[in-house]
């Protein structure tokens, strides 16, 4: 595992570099954008002198690189500026409650995905060659192909409008032991359902392929030849080995947390990090955008690193040399 440790270290050293570059690009985009965001935020009735005064106060008339250096200096000390929508509130005080909302339903989705997807995929693999086989693969591909942008309005129509079983959207929090929790409300069912359908179908399809691969291996034949019953062969030998590559999917799920939530939360009006990102971009709230992008890039980096490490542990043949997997 020496190579792996060196590789992980190299990747960890790369994380600040990438964050640095991403922050620079985002900052430049924000500062060079033609829309004068001070004017937008001050409102249409603000006098030009007022806008000019605010610009001067915030140092927006300085060269961009000076502004950037100042931003980085502040950010390193934990000051990410203030939110525009919630005046006087630090950006991080807005972001973390939003992130907590997104994390809640995503955690449930991940649990459900693995709890349902793995047995379903295994079951589908064991029915290879029967009439159920094309049916199950077809269902997996069909469900996994429908993007959230399509599935959510349709599920909303079916369950909220037509059947009236679920609320049409929103997020309903209640206080549990001093923490605002929204996952136990009826509002959480629709987002969880929509995301779980896609992920379960994807995971089951992948799991089926993995199980089929393992079933062909020699050690499975050995296990059967030594007289093991079918059940322990499947649970102890087949599923356990098929599960290993599945572990990497966790990383990809984590990576899609930020970007995947934008569409879903906009469609359903869930006040999570995705909706916040969308609102901030719409209102040119650059301090919030910077913080969201940085956090998103950081989460993405960690997720990808976890995926790579998982690959390394699972299959030592994948050479984690200094160059990394190619």
């Amino acid at each position: 595992m020496n190579g792996l440790a060196a590789y992980v270290l190299r990747r960890l050293l790369l994380v600040p570099v990438i964050l640095f570059v991403v922050s620079m690009v985002t900052f430049a985009l924000g500062r060079y954008a033609p829309n004068d965001y001070v004017a937008i935020q001050a409102g249409s009735r603000a006098r030009p002198e007022t806008i000019e005064r605010i610009r001067e106060e915030r140092g927006l008339n300085d060269p961009v690189y000076e502004q950037y250096i100042r931003y980085v200096g502040k950010a390193l000390r934990g000051d990410f500026g203030q939110s525009v929508k919630y005046r006087g509130t630090d950006v991080q005080d807005v972001i973390f409650p939003r992130l907590w909302v997104t994390l809640q339903y995503n955690a449930v989705v991940m649990l459900l995905t693995f709890a349902i997807g793995i047995p379903v995929g295994t079951w589908a693999a064991l029915r290879r060659g029967t009439w159920l086989d094309p049916l199950s693969i077809g269902t997996f591909v069909l469900v996994a192909s429908v993007p959230v942008l399509v599935s959510v309005p349709l599920l909303q129509w079916l369950f909220a409008v037509k059947l009236g079983w679920l609320p049409t959207g929103g997020w309903n929090e209640r206080n549990i032991l001093g923490v605002k929790v929204g996952i136990f409300s009826a509002e959480a069912i629709l987002p969880v359902l929509a995301l779980t359908l896609v992920s379960v179908a994807g995971l089951a399809r992948y799991m089926r392929a993995q199980v089929l691969d393992v079933l062909d291996q020699d050690f499975v034949r050995t296990a059967r030849a030594k007289g093991l019953n079918e059940y322990p062969v499947i649970t102890r030998h087949v599923v356990r080995n098929a599960l290993l590559p599945i572990a990497t999917l966790m990383g990809f799920e984590l990576a899609s947390l930020f970007t995947g939530s934008i569409i879903l939360e906009t469609l359903l009006g869930i006040p999570g990090i995705g909706l916040f990102a969308f609102e901030s971009i719409g209102s040119r709230d650059y301090d919030s955008i910077m913080a969201i992008v940085l956090l998103g890039a950081l989460v993405f980096q960690i997720a990808m690193l976890l995926v790579d490490i998982a690959y390394g542990f699972i299959d030592p043949r994948i050479r984690l040399s200094a160059e990394g997997p190619t």
């Binding site: 990438i18 570059v21 429908v146 993007p147 942008l149 955008i289």
Partner: protein, 321 residues
């Protein structure tokens, strides 16, 4: 390939020359699912290309006397809140998909991807490692978020650039046709979309570079561009077609998603605009049919791309299931 197939192939081989390309397409055509997927994709893209000819109405033709009309002979899929023909809007939306896909494939996959892949593959060393580090970095940032921000912040600047171009060249109607948004969206997608193609071309060139025929070409004094474009690139056409096909679905979905968020295409029909306008509890309660039109098209397009992608990877690496 097994022995029986080999003998069968050699027995069949008469006057017809069976190239690997031919075998590849024959295997593809033998899969009904793949053929169905190709047909659906072709129908949508052909409708998009021929939109000005086949669409019964313009996507913005409002008829306020005839709003929310049910499907009829005049309006095969009915009309929406402003009396616009839904079928025509679908066809024109497909045109948006075609334009964005074409621009992104040309810009991202072909120009950026192939040239960078050829460069890194053929000239190993410092250039290679720099470009591949950039590719790694692009893989490890939240792409969708950045494309979103690029589009939101640069939109007005690109628009004024196109205004200048209009004034300077005397071509009118560029901005009104939505060209700046098409350009910007494809540009943003290309910036993040070249990595897959570059990696593919690079890995292929790396292995082909050492082959005997390249050595022979170099020995008779062929120039490097000639080796790259005459000897190496033609070997890769199959894989390039597959890679582009696999990326088209993601490009189409990105356009629809960004436009849905109000950040992608403007002043033009798009499936994203349609979903935005027809979704939502109040709209859906009164007129669910309107929502079904764009969602069913987008869903079948995505399904077709996935099925085709499965078939293609299956043909190229038969061990995978």
């Amino acid at each position: 390939m097994n022995q029986a197939e080999l003998t069968a192939g050699s027995l069949e081989a008469g006057e017809i020359r069976r190239t690997p390309q031919f075998r590849f397409y024959r295997r593809l055509v033998r899969r009904p699912v793949a053929v169905a997927a190709i047909l659906i994709i072709l129908v949508v893209y052909t409708a998009g290309v021929l939109a000005p000819v086949v669409a019964p109405y313009h996507f913005d033709d409002a008829d306020l006397h005839n709003t929310f009309a049910s499907p009829s002979g005049d309006h095969l899929l009915g009309t929406d809140r402003l009396g616009r023909d839904v079928l025509s809007r679908l066809v024109w939306s497909a045109q948006t998909t075609v334009i964005i896909s074409a621009l992104t494939v040309i810009g991202g996959s072909l120009i950026l991807g192939v040239s960078l892949g050829l460069t890194t593959g053929y000239f190993a060393g410092r250039v290679d490692s720099v470009i591949m580090r950039v590719a790694d970095a692009l893989y490890s940032v939240p792409t969708f978020l950045l494309i979103l921000i690029i589009n939101a912040t640069m939109k007005d600047r690109i628009k004024s650039l196109f205004h200048d171009i209009e004034d300077f060249s005397g071509i009118g109607g560029l901005v009104r046709s939505g060209a700046p948004n098409f350009f910007l969206l494809s540009l943003a997608l290309s910036i993040f979309g070249w990595v897959g193609m570059a990696r593919l071309v690079r890995s292929q060139v790396l292995s082909l570079r050492e082959s005997n025929y390249v050595l022979a070409a170099r020995a008779i004094g062929s120039s490097t561009p000639r080796i790259l474009f005459r000897h190496l690139l033609p070997q890769l056409t199959n894989l390039m077609v597959v890679t582009i096909t696999l990326s088209l679905g993601a490009v189409a979905l990105a356009e629809v998603s960004l436009t849905f968020l109000g950040i992608g295409v403007e002043d033009h029909a798009s499936f994203g605009v349609m979903i935005f306008q027809y979704a939502g509890p109040t709209n859906v309660r009164a007129h669910p049919l309107l929502l079904f039109a764009p969602t069913i098209v987008v869903a079948s397009l995505m399904l077709s791309f996935n099925l085709l992608g499965d078939a293609l990877t299956d043909i190229l690496s038969p061990r995978r299931r």
